[in-house]
Amino acid sequence: MEYEKCYVLEIPNERPKKKRKIDQKSSLSSWEQRKQLYSELWRRQEQRINDVLDKSNRETLDNILDFIDQTRSEGTSPTIPTGIISGGPDLSSRRRLFEQLAASIQKTKDCNAFVALSSRDALNLKGLLRTLIQRATSRSEALDDNEDEFVPHRKGPRLLNYDLRTLQEWAAEHRVAKVVVAFEDSEAFDSALLAEAIDVLSTFPVKFVLLFGVATSVEHFQDRLPRATIRKLEGRQFDAVKANDMLERVFEVTIDDPDQRLWLGPGLCRMMIDRQNDHFQSVQAFVDAVQYAYMSHFYANPLSLFLGEGPTDKTIPKDHLEGVRSLASFRKYAEDTLEEGKTDAVRSWLDSDQQLLQSIQHALQSGTDKMRGIIGALKLVRHLRAVFQQQPDITFSSLYIKATAGSLNQSPIIRELLLLVKKVASNKLPAILGYLSSANQVQIAKVADQMLKRLDELIAGNEHAAEPLRSEHDLRHETLRTTVVAQKVELSKQKSSLTKQESEYSEIVRDLHRILSEYFDAMLSDPKAVFTHEIFMYDIKSPHRDSSMPRPRLVIERALSTPHDYLNCRCCQVGRVHEDESVLMPSNPPTSILYQLYLESGSLINVSDLYSAFNAIIGKGDNGDDEKRVMVLFQRALAELKYMGFMKTSRKKMDHVTKLAWKGL
């Protein structure tokens, strides 16, 4: 073996066999098409998301660019101009902001250099400066840690590669006016290091502009710097778009597009949004989750093929149609049709693929319409809430989740909204009608136009009045009347009489209320009642949970405490010997037995006691050979627990171990 210098490893051509849960034949026949479909749809979706992200950052970016521009005119000042960009703890969105900034700085005509530093680049001052110089002068050599490397091509004494004079000379040579240094994650930098770096930068005649990305708050950031350093900095604060707002914008773009074909279901959406609020606040993580949803839908569900352009019986394999016939939504659809008495239709779906395909296309189209209708209705809800200035703010995502789960129409949100519509005053009505008449729904738009005309006439007749017109349901039209009957005071509500204009106005409002409630009833029904909802809506949570939310500790603890769950062996089956689950059996793996004993003891454990307990369970009497065997098992189990970080040797007492991990945390 040793006399060969190298070996050529020939990889066999066929790929190793993987375990696939799904049936090979049916899924693979459409695999290429689905993959194509996925990549096309996701490409468009990603494009939209990126557009939104870029657009949202635009305003902040422009402010920062202005700030960088302005700093030149100030002349020589003892302080370094500094921009603090505050945003949530999401590093990925800040990094995106800085990337955009770098691109737009390079685009501008003045010569500015941009350097982004992250805390990983800078472990000490030398490294920080070296990185800074290398990135600014954009030398392509890879970073290496050789301290004594000199900068080549220079007359006279050479400079060390972390000497800022290099940068100074480079800036003079290339006529660079300003060097913008961005600290991506300022909090992660050691504060002493940051202070020293600022001190060094402030001594050089190169014009620096510093940008700090701050995840917490400006006060918190300042508290960590010494005052002498703060005195050297002066600047402005920029607020980046908050993570939650950004998330809402991105979310909207993932469900609302004229070309949308796949929607995320309510359960999955709720899980993703909750995870954002509870744990992450990272837009990138959300985008990744959406991509994962697309992938798992198109990769794992053969029926996703129907989402392609105009599925015909040539492009769709037969077994896929068979798959549709076994869908739960198809069964329900067929039963409903049967109840209507159309037995022929059901028969034809079962017999003729062509017929089935047609009805699938039809159903998909109506499903798409349904989803668009829901989103249109949600936008109306949002608009109405804005008009009535209702508190608290309900996010679009939570509205969507409720609507797609089919529970929005009965919810108090819609009920309150309709009540408010009944009471609306004439100064707010045009805003609502104007929105309705510009809506996509043709019928509603027509009616709204007519109502708007009626309203205009009414208002034109009412111009002299200071107060807007109010409908009959307005509280101001009710008076309380007190009557004394048998020494008891009775309160009764009474409508005051309406003027002619007011009753006409009430007519309009009543019409509007009727139209809106009909509209909501029609639009906000459960989309899961639609045939083929499994195809156009993806709502499976378990792949996401399995792939992105691991539970390492829980899994190890469970494996140790109930090994039967994993081993599925006969000997340890619960209920075979005892009913109780936590009973210790000698047939369990020794580590898990020891773990049980470990759980039962206090924070300091005497190893000798532990051994005798272990021996009592696993040992077979007083024979010397057996003791050896038990001892080996015990030692190994103990070592394994130690390796997994459950215990360590105690310093307080000899032959004791300290418990480090408790169960269930």
């Binding site: 030398k126 004494p157 402005r236 509870d278």
Partner: protein, 450 residues
């Protein structure tokens, strides 16, 4: 000694420094022999650097000045020193020095050899090392070695500028020290009153520049006295800070004069009117983002400190605070469900009137104590009103908080984060945690000892 004209110029540019200038001109004189090492010491903003620069410039000695602040490592300082000396010698009229012959300087002895070679055959040469006591990454032999350079190189005089000289700094007796004391009240006011800032930004014809000059000279020193006595005496004693504070206050102070409400000599009335300016201490607080000036609002409301964090991160931070500031042995009292009753009783108990024997510092004023990860998680489970999910997102958040330095690792730097041996500390104070806890509806005082 220097010629008298030069002395006069120096005395004019650096008022209140006559003694130091005389010392300097005796020690670094063109005619008398100079000591090999001189130490100039004094606090910040006492004129050490600018005086020696001006002195060497005027006296036209060949010299090199190296500022330690610009040097990142000890090696960097040596390279800089050699480069500065070579440049200075090369600039001399009759020198034939080839700069490329002095390219590297790895350590102190190399510097000594190179300098010896460089200065051979030249006259007196002064090497000024500014702020050398703050040099980063300095080798311990740096000071004593540099102080002995004069013994090897006879025509070299090294001048150290340090803030506070320790008695054994140079390991060498008999080095002359020149002390630059901080300016006293009258001196500081005298120096700053030399160039008064303008009262009016644009002058009209009736009010000439000479009158303006006179008014400025009259008003500015009085204003300086008031500023020193009220604010600068306590918080901005050095000249630079004093000047900054005075400049910041000045604009606001003369605003009524600019509006025409007061004459330029109405100092005492103006003083009474603007007394609020000297009472609030906003100008002394440094901030990167300048505070918005609001004349009406004298008492500023403390800004609400909130952190924009995910839901569970807030709980983790609160739990970390509790873990840091509660003693471990009382955990059972505070966090066990069965101890509910005991905790209730805590509020009303205790005997009033008797002071404890030995007074203890309140725990929340002390440094946070370290805790293990499991304790944090256990407290988290006890504090959160509903079930805590057991997946890895919790750990991710802990590491995010650590990268934001809201939590800090107490153990060795390279230790594994999730290792159960690693200890943690909370990195934020009571105010932040309390407002965070409020925002999630957690009452911290229910769980906090004391």
């Amino acid at each position: 000694m220097l010629p008298t004209e030069l002395m006069q110029i120096l005395n004019r540019d650096f008022p209140c420094r006559e003694l130091q200038i005389r010392h300097l001109s005796a020690l670094l004189s063109p005619t008398l022999p100079s000591p090999s090492t001189v130490v100039l010491h004094g606090l910040e903003a006492t004129g050490k650097t600018s005086l020696i620069k001006q002195y060497l410039h005027l006296s036209k000695f060949p010299h090199a000045i190296v500022s330690s602040r610009e040097c990142v490592t000890g090696r960097h300082l040596l390279e800089r020193t050699l480069a500065a000396c070579v440049a200075s010698v090369a600039a001399l009229p009759e020198s034939e020095t080839d700069a490329s012959a002095y390219s590297r300087c790895e350590n102190l002895s190399a510097l000594a050899a190179q300098l010896q070679r460089l200065l051979e055959g030249h006259g007196k040469f002064f090497l000024v090392l500014d702020g050398i006591d703050r040099q980063r990454d300095a080798p311990i032999t740096l000071f004593p070695a540099l102080a002995r350079f004069g013994e090897i190189i006879s025509n070299l005089t090294t001048v150290f500028l340090v803030s506070i000289p320790s008695p054994r700094l140079l390991h060498r007796p008999g080095v002359p020290h020149i002390h630059f004391p901080a300016y006293a009240r009258s001196q500081a006011i005298h120096i700053l009153s030399l160039n008064p800032p303008p009262i009016f930004l644009n002058l009209n014809e009736e009010y000439t520049a000479e009158e303006h000059e006179e008014d400025r000279k009259w008003l500015w020193p009085r204003f300086l006295v008031a500023t020193w006595d009220s604010l600068a005496k306590g918080a901005a004693r050095d000249l630079v800070r004093f000047r900054e504070v005075a400049r910041m206050l000045w604009e606001e102070f003369v605003a009524p004069i600019r509006k025409g409400e007061y004459g330029t000599r109405d100092f005492s009335r103006l003083m009474v009117r603007m007394r609020g300016l000297f009472q609030k201490e906003d100008v002394l607080v440094d901030g990167i983002v300048p505070q918005e000036k609001d004349a009406q609002q004298i008492i500023k409301r403390p800004k609400k400190v909130t952190l924009d964090l995910p839901y569970f991160s807030k709980y983790i931070l609160c739990a970390a605070y509790l873990a840091s500031y509660n003693p471990t042995r009382q955990d059972q009292i505070f966090f066990m469900k069965s101890m509910e009753k005991k905790r209730r009783r805590r509020g009303g108990g205790g005997t009033p009137g008797r002071a404890p024997k030995n007074r203890k510092i309140p725990r929340n004023l002390l440094h946070p104590s370290a805790f293990s990860l499991d304790r944090l998680l256990a407290i988290l489970h006890a504090v959160v009103p509903h079930a805590v999910p057991q997946h890895a997102d919790i750990y991710t958040q802990i590491s995010t908080l650590a990268s934001l330095r809201l939590l800090s690792k107490a153990g060795p730097a390279g230790a594994d984060m999730m290792d159960s041996n690693t200890k943690w500390r909370v990195g934020v104070g009571w105010d932040v945690v309390n407002s965070l806890a409020r925002s999630i509806g957690l009452e911290m005082t229910d769980y906090l000892a004391e």
